[in-house]
Amino acid sequence: MSALTLDDIATLLLRGARQHGATAADVVVAEGDSLMVGVRLGTVEKVQRARAKHLGLRAFAGARSAILSTSDFTPAALEQLAADAVALARVTAPDPFSGLPEPGELAGAATSLDLFDPAVGQVTAEQATAWCLEAETAARDADARITNSEGAEFDAGSHLVVYAASNGFHGSYRSSSCSLSCVPVASQNGSMERDHWYSAQRRLARLDSPASIGATAAARALRRLGARQVGTAQVPVVFDPDMAGSLLGHLAGAVSGGAVYRGLSFLAGKLGEAIAPSFLNVYDDGTLADGLGSKPFDGEGLPTRRTPVLEGGVLSAYLCDTYAARKLSRRATGNAARSVGDSPHVSPTNFFLPAGTTPARELIASVKSGLYVTELMGFGVNATTGDYSRGAGGLWIENGELAYPVSEITIAGNLLQMFRDIEAVGDDLVMRRSICAPTIKIARMTVAGS
């Protein structure tokens, strides 16, 4: 096909938009290669290879704007794209808050964040198969009660993103990601339970060993066997790190400037207020080397940075892209995310609660009767009010010990109250994903069961 680089295409599209009357424009071009291999019960089940590219052009006609995106990179299609984008922009309403960031806010020369590992793109299907087999075998060999498997899967992707805008920004970066996961099925007395474990990294060498992933997955499935319902009660609830991470996810949604200006956040109007105990800090940091949520610049060309969101329990920032910042009379925080087919929106980068000093097992030991949550299901979170009600599973704590597995229960409360009621934070933070937390203990929630 054409010998144009992605950078050339971005430049051409910006020029085309101008020629068709756009007053400003920006372009995202993304390209990626991926490999997915799945094995099940000791043999290869699926192998998928793909190469994909996509681009999006946002054109402004004064304060009006529209986005056109395509995977059709033929010259004729690109020529038409610029004309169509400007025409579509003209049907929208003028929005005085819209527009590109000021040139002074833009990121300078890209800093290397170690986001790209060439080894990820060089993994062969045979290598990936061997790792999957090793993980699944470790899970199946762990215990006679592991009777079935949904398999193990390896995924790898290498990406190149170019972002250019008529305010003068033109940058690009490469990134890679890889993951290995395993889903064994355990059974006992005619009932089955499955669970999973995984490792995800930007660098291949940092993945956990296949055997440890398989063994952990098996242990997680096995400990669910014989789960029962418990009676409805108000008790302390300890969230394991992955589940605590989901609470951080709700916090990230609520401090998003987009949700705040729309009135769809239970934290709207609470900036500067103490919303959690004074030992609680939360950060958004897009500059962590190797971080799964890191990037050198955001979806509008602003540098990423470290933003304290909770400091000493006080809500200290909303995360903003340029639009949300203008709506809220604040400064953008380098949190614009941009998919090729959509206008920028606010998204956290690496969003985390730093580790505390209390060993996680002491959080469990401090509970006389309560729930250790290892699984949450469903979408029962009302971002506007903070009302929270989700399906849950885990282990019941009796006299400080994990006593027996429980399932088919719900936990409910209100996120505002839940954050206030955080009693302790564990010392076990591992940056396994872009939003994460250590073990968290909440003083009291409603557990509904039989």
Binding site: S69, T70, Q234, T384, D387
Partner: protein
């Protein structure tokens, strides 16, 4: 107009290919010891318009096109896809996909013949994508005005329109070539209400494989605006939901998401072939009360979950999943049907050319029973009446499922009394369905905004149900 559009011609022209390339590519894919292979061409054009704060702030148009090659040998699947479709990339993709199959290469082209899908479920006079932009913008503005006029406590309105046309062509190693042109329209409305320092929202919407004018016929959109606004207003005064096990009455239509989660996913062929579903190996057994008959039907005209053919070119059908409480069948794609030795059901679906095919639902619903909705409510001493849901999730292995109410009421002494806040309901699929003690005579399908997620892939689906009563279910409120 789209009536002139023929998928095979469309793709050959668009990618500058000729018939021989199709025959060669499928021949290359099946050259080793494989059971079957297919090519999937797709061109999806979509438009989205979003209004908030009284302004149509966003207009977007996307074209996503490409081709996927799949080779199946036993339980193994090899896939490759590309968005840069040419003779060269198709051959490369076929060679990549066939690496999962053993045996030496004995290449021969496969003669292909055009077949027509056996249904014509969404022949439209005008494709929704071609409706005038002005009409789409005007509708969003009218929705904003109507919602704000409904009640002064409605302080903000968000409305979005999504319109798409997906052209697909499936060529398989048996020589069949099947194409389809799939229109889709969706309208969503969210109203935010505020009073006495409390803020709540309500949502509604609808659509289907219909013309754009469907949204306005019979003042449909006004109905959705009213539903969203009143849900937001009612939630302003809702009390905390109860917690614990109690009788639950589900309203008709969208609450059918219960079936989607409690039984639908668990009856997909892949999980059952692998023996990882709570329903595995239970055909012919009682899994629901005798009042329950549940079907999956992809052949209902103009429904969001309907298709002329699935993404493997198989005509969609009507599959009885549960008949009078007895488990009758699973939902199948080609790979799983072949390995289980059962007929195809037309449920092989993929989100796009870049995704793998899996057994998926189409429109899943329960047939009507004899009770009137009033009788059902009257039979409950103390329980919950839930009429709108935000979505659900299931663990098909343990059978545990949840779905979250966004509009619910208390039933006290046989009467619907106060609104309560949204709460998650949790149950165990095979068990919950045996506790269905009354089924209403008011079967309703949903309004057409459902999307199902499985293994990271989203596809449009429908659900439906009459009013039903479940004798005991765990309600996840805060009032113990």
């Amino acid at each position: 107009m789209s009536t002139a559009l023929e998928p095979r011609r469309f793709f050959l022209d668009r990618f500058a290919l000729d018939e021989r390339v199709l025959e060669d590519t499928i021949g290359t894919a099946i050259a080793r010891k494989a059971d079957f292979a297919d090519l999937y061409f797709e061109c999806r054009t979509s438009e989205a318009f979003v209004l908030e704060e009284g302004l149509v702030k966003k207009a977007a148009k996307n074209v996503s096109q490409g081709a996927g090659v799949r080779v199946v040998a036993g339980e193994k699947t090899g896939c490759a896809h590309t968005d840069d479709v040419s003779v060269e990339t198709l051959r490369l993709a076929s060679q990549t996909a066939r690496t999962i199959a053993d045996g030496s290469t004995a290449h021969a082209p496969v003669a292909v013949r055009a077949a027509r899908p056996s249904h014509d479920l969404y022949a439209l006079a005008q494709a929704p994508l071609t409706a005038a932009l002005d009409e789409k913008i005007a509708l969003l503005n009218a929705i904003d005005l109507a919602a704000r006029a409904h009640d002064p406590r409605i302080v903000n309105v968000m409305a979005s329109i999504g319109v798409e046309q997906k052209i697909v062509l499936i060529v398989n190693s048996a020589g069949a070539v099947v194409g389809d042109i799939q229109p889709l329209v969706r309208l969503n409305v969210t109203c935010i209400a505020e009073a006495n320092g409390r803020r709540e929202h309500g949502t509604a919407g609808g659509g289907g494989r219909v013309e754009f004018s469907f949204l306005s016929e019979g003042d449909r959109w006004r109905g959705w605006v009213k539903t969203a606004a009143e849900q937001a207003l009612r939630n302003l005064t809702a009390d905390d939901a109860p917690a614990g096990s109690m009788p639950v009455v589900l309203g008709p239509g969208w609450p059918g998401v219960l079936l989607h989660e409690a039984v639908g996913h668990g009856l997909e062929g892949d999980f059952n072939r692998k023996g990882t579903s709570a329903f595995s190996g239970r055909i012919g057994e009682r899994v629901a009360s005798p009042l329950c008959t549940v079907v999956d039907d992809g052949t209902i005209a103009n429904r969001r979950g309907s298709l002329n053919c699935d993404d493997e070119g198989t005509p969609t059908g009507r599959t009885v999943l549960i008949e009078n409480g007895i488990l009758r069948g699973y939902l199948q794609d080609r790979l799983n049907a072949r390995l289980m030795g059962v007929p195809l059901t037309g449920n092989g679906r993929r989100e796009s050319y870049a995704h793998m095919t899996m057994p998926r639902m189409t429109n899943t619903f329960m047939l009507a029973g004899d009770s009137t909705p009033e009788e059902i409510i009257r039979s409950v001493q103390k329980g919950v009446y839930a009429v709108s849901f935000g979505g659900g999730q299931v663990d098909i292995t343990s059978g545990k499922f949840v779905f979250s109410a966004t509009e619910a009421y208390l039933i006290e002494d046989g009467k619907v009394t106060r609104p309560v806040k949204g709460a998650t309901l949790i149950g165990n699929g095979p068990e919950a369905m045996t506790r269905v003690s009354m089924v209403g005579n008011d079967l309703k399908l949903d309004e057409g905004i459902g999307t199902c997620g499985k293994d990271g892939q989203s596809v449009p689906v429908g659900v439906g149900m009459p009013t039903i009563k479940i004798d005991a279910m765990t309600v996840g409120g805060t009032q113990a």
